[in-house]
């Protein structure tokens, strides 16, 4: 599901992502902004990412809750200029109605 997430940004397809985000989903960005599920799905449509590579990923299970943390690199083009950045993330997933849904994510820019 983490890969579904990354792929949605590359393909600019919010549908797959919508299925794995809880309606109460909250994201805190590197800039300290709070995004709701609707915000994130809108963001996907205007994504500039061409490639998202997961560098590391660790899952900790706590009953019906899973914490997924790791880092990824994004390459893309913004305003005609290529960019690359590395970010760390921590996601919280909840097993709800017989499926896993993400209820939070936090991402921060990371050094190389």
């Amino acid at each position: 599901m983490e890969h579904v997430w990354a792929q949605a940004y590359v393909t600019k397809d919010p549908k797959a992502l919508a299925a794995v985000l809880d309606d109460a989903f909250v994201c805190v960005t590197s800039e300290g902004k709070v995004l709701t599920k609707a915000d994130v799905l809108a963001d996907v449509k205007t994504s500039t990412a061409l490639q998202i590579l997961t560098e590391s990923m660790v899952v900790h299970l706590h009953g019906d809750t899973a914490i997924v943390s790791g880092s990824f690199r994004t390459k893309g083009i913004e305003r005609g200029r290529p960019y690359g950045r590395r970010e760390c993330f921590v996601d919280t997933w909840l097993y709800k109605n017989e499926r896993w849904v993400s209820i939070t994510t936090m991402v921060t820019f990371a050094g190389d």
Binding site: V28, E31, G32, V34, H62, T65, S69, V90, F109
Partner: protein, 147 residues
């Protein structure tokens, strides 16, 4: 709300406020907000014993572009010096999902670095899980509010 260990002048004054709940009661919200306060006070006093009791062993903390484990975080608190810093909590909103709770909020950090006073406003998000009747912090993170 969090701090990296230095001397904190903690101003709580009921600034935290409970919020939306999903499948939970007000008592859980109150318990979580109390724990957030306990956490801040414990860090202000470099009280690793208390932090050890509320941090799950698998805690993942994300701040300053790094993923930090429980052990690493407690080390940071233990090694903290005597720099003066003030953490001022802002609003916080708790979402309860059964035995899992999410807290999203802001706090301000005021301190002195290289002889200059700085003020940073942070947005934080914490995940708590109820284990055998006790809420444990399993994930946390904060980003500076830049826009």
């Amino acid at each position: 709300m969090r701090a990296t260990g230095w001397l904190l002048i903690f101003v709580y004054a009921g600034l935290l406020s409970g919020g939306a709940q999903e499948g939970g009661g007000g008592s859980a919200t109150a318990a979580i907000l109390t724990l957030e306060q306990v956490w801040s006070v414990a860090e202000s006093r470099n009280d690793n014993h208390t932090l050890d009791g509320i941090f799950d062993n698998a805690l993942v903390y994300i701040k300053d572009g790094r993923l930090v484990t429980k052990g690493e975080w407690l080390s940071r608190v233990r090694l903290a010096g005597t720099q003066t810093r003030e953490i001022v909590p802002g609003t916080a909103r708790v979402h309860i999902f059964g035995s899992t709770a999410i807290v999203v909020g802001i706090y301000r950090e005021i301190g002195v670095k290289d002889g200059k006073t700085f003020l940073t406003q942070w947005r934080f998000i914490d995940t708590w899980v109820n284990k055998k009747g006790s809420w444990m912090l399993v994930a946390a993170g904060a980003s500076p509010i830049t826009k």
